[in-house]
Structure formats: C-alpha cells, structure tokens
C-alpha cells in the first residue's frame, strides 16, 4: 500500500486546505499526474503524485485543512489487491496527524460562488435539505453543479461547492503577506548572507537577441529574462555550492538545476515557482515554460512540484527601474541571483570610453554553504556565459 501525503509546497507552507480530488477510489494514477488541488496561503496548487498505482481510499475530506505530511489517500501498488491493502491497514493503521486547528482564513473564508460547469437550469431537482444547507453555507444554489440523478443537487454537492470557495483577493493577499513575512524572517534570522555584484556588458547578447527576434514571429520571441535564466543555470556548474539546500545543519547539493523565478502578483505579493532543469532546456523551450509559468502563477494555478523544489531563486527587478538587487535568500535554498535594469551606461573597453548596454548581476549567498570566492567565481562565469549568447 502506498501512502499519498500532502507535500511541503515551500518553506512558508506548513498546512493546506484540500479543495478538490481529481481522482476517485478505483482510478489508476500515473507518476506525475495531478490528483488533488490544495489551497496554500499563496495559491491553489495542483498536487501531483510521484508513484503509479490505483487509488484505494481518500482519507481527507474536501474542505479540511491538514498539516504537511498528512496522508491524504492510500493507493494500491500495481498487483496489490484491496483485500491485501485492507489487511495491511488493520495490521499497521496509517498514522494520521490530528487535523490542524483551522487557520484563521480557513475558519472564516468569505464564500465565493463557484462557477458552474453547466448553465444553471431552473428545472433540475434540488432537495429542500440541500437548499437549506446551501443557504446556511452562503452558497449560491443556482451555481452548484449537481451530481445526483438527473443533475440533482445533493447536500454533498453543496458542501463541495462551499469547500471550493477560495479566499477573496484581499484575504489571499493578507495570507500571502503573512507567508512571505514568515519565510523572510526565518531567512534573515538563520542565514548569514553575503552579497556580491558584477556589472556585465550586454552588447553582444542584446544585438544577438535583436537579430534572433527579428527572425521570429511575435508568438516565438524570446525575452532577455530567459537568456539570463539559462546563463545562471549553466554558470552554476562552476559553483555547485550555490545550487541546493541547507538542511539538518549541512549543505545538500541538488541533483538538478530548478530555478525559482520570482513572479510578482498583480494584486500584490510574490511567488517563486520553479522551472525544472533549466540547464537542459533550449531557449525557445525555456521561453515557453517561463511564459506559461508566469501566466499560471498570476492566475493562481501552480503545480506542487513547481512549489516544492526550486534549488536557487532568480529575481529580476530591472523592469521596475532599479540598478541592482540584493535579495533575501528563500530557505532552505542557499543562494539568490538578482538582475537590475539593462541600460546604456559608460563603459571602458580596450582603453576607450563607450556607451554600452550594461546590467548589474548580484548574488546573495548563504555563508554557511559557500564562501565569497565561490560566489565570485559564479558571477565571473555568469558574465562569461552572457558574452556568448549563441551558446545559451
């Protein structure tokens, strides 16, 4: 029997509210499949499963808030029968942490009606009990999708609709602010940061990109941000101490380069989901992934794997007009790379003063995991990589 647990979706998340099951008992699930939707303080996250199997039992009802690590469901391994699983369960009952005390937001969420999949029909049956329950829960009965006979709205449907109601934007923002506050306070309390910066001439890269984009239709154009991400990923090969986590009092190098991209949310706040294996993606692929990630992050629809495993974060505040960023590391990561604005500035090359597009790249490093000399090597390599855009 396989236990499917609520994964940690970042350092600032210790509990989540189950919004939706995407599978039901008896369904076959594949590694990487989205099986549930969980509301964290930052977003509604599609939670993936990482083992193949058949869903056996759902242990957490929709609407319940549970701590990270709670067994949400059990699965049968390929070949395992329900009888074997039931026997195993009797012998070793799955320890399930007590449900967390509901978080403030979960205790009194403002109810938002859930968009119906089908247009509401006036004639479909709604039992008086369901109608009464809907009114108690402040759910718009006309917008509830009925799953009973002839599309009848059942009490269960009403409860599901109520559970799916997500906090209104103002609550969401307050919750996100709290999550950022917790993670950043922990970072500044625990991580001895060091900061380095390097001015990088970008003429070659800017010219190369203009030529490339000149050949591309608008739908396939590449942004400078994508080149910067790729250059960071490749430069990390020279400084593996910057890519990974500080856990249990020691550095653990990551096996892949999964860059957390800091994305600002229009209503306020910030989220930094990961792009996986940035070092192995070509630029068009990276650009598509980045574009998709930004739109999903802003729509509040991210996957658990994107939330849980960034190995380093990159932030670009250049568009807001600052020259350089000295960021706060997102624990348990050990480094953050910042880019400032790209602009024409005076630059001396071969004894001559010229106007050249420049960008300031910075590194915030965790001094427990790496020393400044390694950070300096990383920035030198980043600068070098950005002189050869055709190799990115």
């Amino acid at each position: 029997m396989i236990e499917f647990k609520l994964p940690s979706l970042g350092a600032d998340m210790d509990q989540g509210k189950l919004l939706e099951w995407k599978v039901k008992p008896g369904d076959i699930v594949k590694r990487g499949q989205v099986v549930a939707v969980v509301d964290t303080s930052k977003a509604a996250v599609d939670v993936e499963i990482w083992q193949d199997g058949t869903l056996f039992e759902q242990l957490v009802p929709i609407g319940e808030t549970v701590p990270v690590g709670t067994v949400l469901a059990t699965l049968l391994q390929p070949g395992e029968t329900p009888e074997q699983a039931a026997l195993q369960k009797r012998q070793a009952p799955a320890a399930r942490p007590a449900p967390a005390a509901p978080a403030t937001a979960a205790a009194a969420p403002s109810r938002v009606s859930v968009p119906a999949a089908a247009p509401p029909s006036q004639r479909r049956p709604v039992s008086p009990a369901a109608r009464k329950h809907a009114s108690e829960l402040n759910v718009d009965i006309d917008k509830v999708v009925g799953t009973g006979p002839h599309g009848a709205v059942t009490i269960e449907d009403v409860e599901k609709a109520a559970a799916r109601a997500v906090p209104a934007p103002a609550d969401r923002y307050a919750e996100m602010r709290k999550a950022i506050a917790a993670a950043m306070s922990r970072s500044k309390r625990e991580i001895p940061h060091y900061y380095l910066s390097e001015t990088i001439p970008m003429q070659r890269t800017a010219e190369w990109l203009a030529r490339e984009n000149g050949k591309r239709p608008v739908t396939e154009r590449i942004l400078m941000g994508a080149l910067q991400l790729k250059a960071v990923a490749l430069a990390l090969a020279k400084a593996p101490e910057l890519n990974g986590f500080w856990l249990d009092g020691k550095f653990q190098a990551a096996t892949g380069v999964h860059i957390g991209v800091a994305i600002s949310i229009r209503q306020g706040g910030l989220i930094a989901p990961a792009i996986h294996d940035v070092d192995k993606k070509n630029l068009p692929e990276l650009m598509r992934t980045l574009s998709d990630l930004v739109s999903r992050a802003r729509a509040g629809s991210l996957r658990s794997s994107e939330m849980s495993d960034p190995t380093i974060t990159v932030t670009n505040l250049g568009e807001q007009g600052v020259e350089a960023v000295f960021g706060v590391i997102y624990p348990p990561q050990v480094a953050l790379v910042g880019f400032g604005r790209l602009e024409m500035r005076p630059w001396v090359e071969s004894g001559e003063l010229r106007a050249v597009p420049l960008v300031t790249a910075s590194l915030s490093g965790d001094h427990r995991a790496s020393d400044g000399i390694r950070g300096a090597r990383f920035l030198a390599e980043l600068r070098e990589r950005l002189q050869h855009p055709e190799e990115l």
């Binding site: 984009n213 000149g214 608008v218 739908t219 154009r221 942004l223 941000g225 229009r266 209503q267 980045l290």
Partner: protein, 84 residues
C-alpha cells in the same frame, strides 16, 4: 477597421492583461507603461494578443514607436490600411 474599432479592441486586450486598469483613468496620449504596470512579459502578451485578434505581427524593431495607446492605435491603423 476604423480607428475607433481598433482602439476598442486594443483597450480590451490591455484590460485582459492588466485587469486592474480603469478605462477612464488611462490617458491615451501618455506613455502606457508609466500608467500601467506592464513588464516585458505582459507587453509581449499584449503583442501576441494583437497578432491573434488583428493579425498584425509587430516587429521588435518597432517597439520604440509604440509608447502610448494613441501610438499603438495609429500604428495598427496604418498597417491595416496599407494591407487593404
């Protein structure tokens, strides 16, 4: 398509990218990106949507001409008129 129609379409596109924009508050003759928080990804998405809805592919070299909403509408009107 006349300028008014183009303006309506372009305004709708901008609103889809930046929903917080109040139409009345947007000054058409002032730089767009000073008034709306549009980063380069948002701007690219505006141009992708323009391409999709109006079938005009704006080359990157022309971005500099498209500072205000008026600039963008006039540019698109010119492109569409020359095609007709």
């Amino acid at each position: 398509m006349n300028e008014t129609e183009i303006r309506t379409r372009v305004t709708a596109i901008i609103k889809s990218i930046a929903p917080e924009v109040e139409e009345g508050e947007l000054r058409a003759d002032r730089p767009l990106r000073d008034q709306i928080d549009l980063d380069s990804m948002d701007w690219l998405n505006v141009l992708v949507a323009v391409n999709e809805k109006l079938h005009v592919d704006i080359p990157e070299a022309d971005y500099g001409k498209l500072v205000s909403l008026d600039n963008l509408v006039a540019y698109l009107h010119g492109k569409l008129a020359s095609r007709a």
